[in-house]
Amino acid sequence: MSQSTVYYLSGLGILFFINLVAVWGLDLHFGFAGVNSFAFIVFQAVGAYITGVFSLGRANTPVTFETYILGVHWPWPLALLLGGIAGAVLAVPVGWIAVRRLRGDYQAMAMLVLALIANSLIAAETGWFNGATGLESVPQPFGNLNVSLYDYHWVFLALAAICGVVSWWIARGIARSPLGRSLRALRESESALAALGRDPNRLRTIALVAGGFLGGLSGGLLIQYVQAWGPASWLYAETFLFFTAIIIGGRGNLLGTALGTLLVPIGIVEVTRELPQFGYPGEFADFQWVAIGALMLVFLWFRPHGLIPERKRVLRPRDDGASGQEAPARALARGSQR
């Protein structure tokens, strides 16, 4: 393979892991806890901005005409971690606004509007994150490493893969724990769970915070990779890219959503950039979005549970001898009776 092909493929690998972290974060919100997290892109955005302003130096407004807060030039691992934490912290007010009282369509609507408000507000307030222009020239991790552009891709790929593994560890840890069982039960029947003495809002907030951390982390990685971030990078429609990945892959299944990530943000959006472009600049991207919308409909019609559906959890009760598949809420009921 030529060097440029390798460079391209390693770049795809980096984007795959960055998107994967975000998709798993959204899967914690939507797949496990059943929260209609239409504002998910905001978690990625806040992670990117916070990582950006912590790793950038002080804004030199008279020279660059940029204005942003902080600019403390902290080491990149700290900035990346703070990006994740910012996503987690943001999840608390979002949960308070959209999840505590609202359900279903109304929750989706509130989330959608929150994403619009956040984007317009940050574009209008030039003092926070340089307004509509956004942040630029964000320092990269290992920026002083004296390697070629090609080799640097491998370094970043390793970093993105490590973040992917950490996300897998977090998401899988939650999915397998009693907490994950409670979350799935909550998704299926909130009243059953509440009747068992669990606090639905507390559970939802935990899932939101964990997913928000992953969203923020992916945003931090993204800004460190592409080195720029502005309101045009996180229009509310971007959230539906992640939703399509989850619907196609299989909601609530980490392997399925990884496959969905490979197919949608990478397969449809990134790989097709290599196809011969046509029309005016941007026309190709329009057809990508049409394809994403069509794919969403096709899967919702033919395969609503995705390519790799969530595994039915079979819990064999030890004492009463009954066997077979059980709804999560009933399994939980059994667990708490004991």
Partner: protein, 292 residues
């Protein structure tokens, strides 16, 4: 005074759009997130079909018919097929989003890299109140909105169809056993909502003078703010909500900055959802289990 008059004009558009949205949501119980792209496509159809005509009456006729047909296809045919297949709640919202993405980006591809603009029409000042000039288009929009609201009111209150619509919104099974076909009522709701959406679209497009493939989306969310402030499924509430939203958007754009005109309406929407999801009047939300 400027705020009040221009607020009244904005309110006219939000009222038409908001009533169309709330009527369909109330009757069919489908959160139609493709409503914004239906608004946009009505403008596109009108623009290309009439050769950029700015004749408001012709535009409203073409836009209204286009909106009704599109809304029927999207809502009754496509979404209806998904509902019959057993999709519910969140899946239906996702279906409308998928449709919305397809419509919006197809239109963007049709539009190309240019901004569509209407030839500047003859905008004579028609009405001058306390030093504020309203042109003939703005006055027409306000009058059309008033007439449409009266028509919606009369249809809902005085006709059998209106009763059937209110009954379907209230209790589907009870309506069915009374010998009314809920499917027919739903079809009519999608048609009526689409017609209102198309009329509001062309008034918006011609009023601004330029448009692109994203014009309907932000407007839709603001119109939905009006509908939700008034209580979902309540056309009268949406009218009052539109008045509030119209004044608030104009006031915040005049007092704070134009960037905040939509933001203030959206904040109002979220505030209503959290604090008073049932809207200004009534008990509707509690019956429908909007809130936990």
């Amino acid at each position: 005074m400027t705020i009040v008059l221009f607020g009244l004009y904005s309110a006219a558009l939000y009222a038409i759009g908001g009533v169309g949205f709330t009527l369909q949501f109330g009757v069919t119980n489908v959160l139609n997130l493709a409503y914004g792209s239906l608004i946009t496509s009505s403008i596109f159809v009108e623009y290309y079909l009439t050769g950029h005509s700015t004749n408001l009456w012709l535009a409203m006729l073409v836009g209204g018919v286009a909106g009704a047909v599109l809304s029927f296809v999207v809502g009754f045919v496509v979404v209806g097929a998904f509902v019959r297949r057993g999709a519910a709640g969140f899946s239906i919202a996702m279906v409308t989003i998928g449709i919305s993405l397809m419509i919006q980006y197809t239109l963007e591809a049709i539009q190309g890299p240019v901004v569509n603009a209407y030839a500047s029409s003859n905008r004579s000042t028609l009405l001058s109140v306390a030093g504020v000039n309203l042109d003939s288009q703005q006055v027409t929009a306000i009058l059309v909105a008033v007439v449409l609201m009266v028509v919606v009111h009369l249809v809902l209150r005085l006709t059998k169809l209106g009763l059937a619509m209110r009954a379907t919104a209230d209790d589907v099974s009870l309506t069915r056993v009374s010998g009314v076909s809920p499917a027919r009522v739903r079809a009519l709701a999608w048609l009526a909502s689409g017609a209102l959406c198309g009329i509001c679209g062309v008034l918006l497009g011609i009023g601004i003078g330029t448009f692109d493939a994203a014009i309907g989306n932000d407007f839709f969310i603001t119109a939905a703010a009006a509908a939700i402030a008034g209580g979902v499924g309540k056309p009268y509430g949406a009218m009052l909500g539109a008045l509030i939203v119209g004044i608030i958007t104009q006031a915040s754009s005049a007092i704070v900055s134009p960037a905040f005109s939509s933001i203030s309406a959206w904040v109002l929407l979220v505030a209503f959802l959290i604090l008073r999801p049932q809207g200004i009047f009534a008990t509707y939300a509690a019956e429908r289990e909007i809130v936990a």
